[in-house]
């Protein structure tokens, strides 16, 4: 039941509870209770809006930063990750396998702002060994949704 609810609201968080109950063939009250429980348990962490900022007049710059760090005894990467994710500029932090340790996603108003954040805040943390900044030039697909292209229905409108 949870999986079914999640698979629908993952695609459409704005669906109302009544409609959700109808399409899943459940009772409205059960769906409402399950949603509430999942919010409380932290299964559902939030409801977000997918925005293509390029289509607005608001300037946004985002970058992915590879960070190499020295893991700390007894704490591994957790302490340094926690230091990094406190900054509001940071939208995501992942511990990853491969040639570096953390992948940090940053959003700012301009290239300068992001660069300054990396040079002033991130690189200066004592356990950070090195950083490599990759500015995002164009988003093609995000959260499973292809941006910029709107699909039209090309099917024949009548077909037996």
């Amino acid at each position: 039941m949870r999986e079914k609810i999640l698979s629908v609201i993952e695609q459409n968080a704005r669906i109302d509870i009544k409609e959700l109950a109808v399409i899943l063939g459940m009772e409205e009250i059960d769906v409402a209770n399950e949603l509430k429980a999942m919010e409380e348990e932290g299964v559902i962490c939030g409801y977000h809006t997918m925005i293509d900022w390029d289509k607005t007049s608001i300037d946004k710059v985002s970058a992915l930063i590879e960070v190499r760090v020295t893991p700390q005894r007894g704490q591994g990467f957790d302490t340094i990750a926690e230091r990094i994710y406190q900054y509001p500029e940071v939208s995501a932090v992942y511990l990853i396998s491969g040639g570096f340790d953390l992948l940090v996603s940053i959003e700012g108003k301009s290239l300068k702002e992001v660069s300054l954040f990396v040079s002033d805040k991130l690189s200066t943390l004592e356990t950070v060994l090195s950083t490599a900044t990759h500015f995002i030039l164009k988003k093609y697909k995000d959260h499973g949704i292809v941006l910029s292209k709107k699909k039209t229905d090309e099917r024949e409108s009548f077909m037996p």
Binding site: E19, I23, S157, F158, P160
Partner: protein, 392 residues
């Protein structure tokens, strides 16, 4: 000049939905609920295999019956899904969609005057294909009170000495009706007793929303008298690839292969390579699409309930078949006014046989948002008609 045409072909009625097509073509922001194909794109890994086959230069004819590997995969699939075992080299033929299989199957089996039982409402090709194959169509009018399932009694009532083939189109287009195992057992008994062959068109088999689809070929004594028709269009969203298949007794498949060889040669090679991938790794995609359809199905049934519109619960394909008899107009009139006044296109039930009178086929191969908009317009239309009726 002499008459250049075949009388038999000229006699065949053109499809009744042409007129709607013309209206909708010039209409702005019409919502169509009239399509008979999935709204999903073919899953990428399947398309990718098709592309890869082209890159490798696999652009030749295949054998007449189709690629060995595809026929083998089909045998694995029918065994795994429906518990029917076929021999890949003698009992399977790959066709250009299920449509071709229907045509060559009937041509391979019928002698002049043989009667073919066609339950209706059903897909539009059975009747003309029967006529073109020299057979005589005998229509069985399915009834709403049986949820448009075929009953043994209805079958027995029309069987004569000439009856040779029963077409079994379930899950059904346009009604969405299915035949469950208990229903099929009754039909199978009659077929064995009366020595009738079955052409079972199971193109919508994967889109079943109540239990698992049962193929009549899996019932005792039926495999040897059943042509099982299926394809990739509906299950894997591959309509444009034009690929289907038929499985059945080797003596019938051999004759079908002969016709296929002379008029088609072989089904499209690229599509056959893509289809192998579909059967090998497509289960998850099918399940995802099935769940989406199921959600939309529930949405529509609920919408009709709120409108107070009578509709039996269909458990297959991607159609619902609401009853519009309360408005005292024909399906054609209703569909025409619905299109002209609310710009929503649905197919009148009569496009699928006379017994579709009083019903409307609504396809849910559309996104929920689209369906929501269409149902708002339908509710408004239904209210308007009821008010009109009350004033009279």
């Amino acid at each position: 000049m002499r008459n250049p045409l075949s009388d038999e072909v000229v006699k065949i009625k053109p499809s009744g939905i042409r007129k709607f097509f013309d209206i909708v073509a010039v209409m702005k922001d019409a919502i169509s609920l009239g399509v008979g194909e999935p709204d999903f794109d073919t899953p990428w890994h399947i398309r990718d295999e098709g592309i890869y086959s082209l890159e490798k230069g696999k652009t030749f004819y295949t054998s007449n019956s189709g690629l060995k590997e595809l026929r083998e995969e089909i045998c694995i699939y029918t065994k795994r899904k429906y518990g029917v075992s076929y021999e890949w080299d003698k009992e399977v033929i790959i066709t250009v969609g299920g449509s071709e299989a229907i045509d060559i199957g009937l041509r391979a089996m019928l002698n002049p005057g043989d009667e073919v039982l066609i339950p209706q409402p059903s897909y539009v090709s059975y009747e003309p294909c029967t006529v073109l194959a020299g057979g005589k169509p005998v229509i069985i009018d399915l009834k709403a009170e049986n949820e448009f399932r075929l009953t043994a009694k209805e079958l027995l009532d029309v069987i004569t000495d000439k009856t040779k083939v029963l077409i079994l189109p379930f899950p059904n287009n346009p009604t969405g009706a299915i035949m469950e195992e208990k229903d099929l057992i009754e039909i199978a008994k009659v077929c064995v007793e009366k020595d009738i062959f079955v052409m079972s068109d199971e193109i919508y088999a994967e889109l079943t929303y109540k239990g698992r689809h049962v193929s009549i070929a899996s019932l005792p004594g039926m495999k040897e008298r059943t042509i099982l028709i299926n394809g990739f269009s509906k299950a894997f969203a591959m309509t444009g690839w034009r690929l289907g298949y038929a499985c059945g007794p080797s003596e019938i498949i051999a004759q079908m292969t002969k016709i296929h060889q002379f008029c088609i040669m072989c089904a499209p090679t690229t599509s056959q390579y893509a289809a192998i991938e579909a059967l090998k790794n497509g289960d998850e995609d099918v399940e995802k699409m099935r769940q989406s359809y199921d959600q939309r199905r529930r949405f529509l049934l609920n919408a009709f309930k709120e409108m107070g519109l009578e509709c039996f619960e269909p458990f297959g394909a991607f159609y619902v078949f609401p009853c519009i008899k309360e408005f005292g107009m024909t399906s054609d009139e209703f569909a025409t006014r619905f299109l002209e006044e609310e710009k929503v296109a649905a197919v009148p039930g009569t496009a699928f046989g006379d017994s579709g009178e009083g019903y409307l086929r609504i396809s849910y191969a559309y996104s929920l948002d689209r369906l929501k908009l269409a149902m708002e317009r339908m509710a408004r239309f239904v209210n308007k008609l009821r008010e009109e009726k009350a004033e009279k």
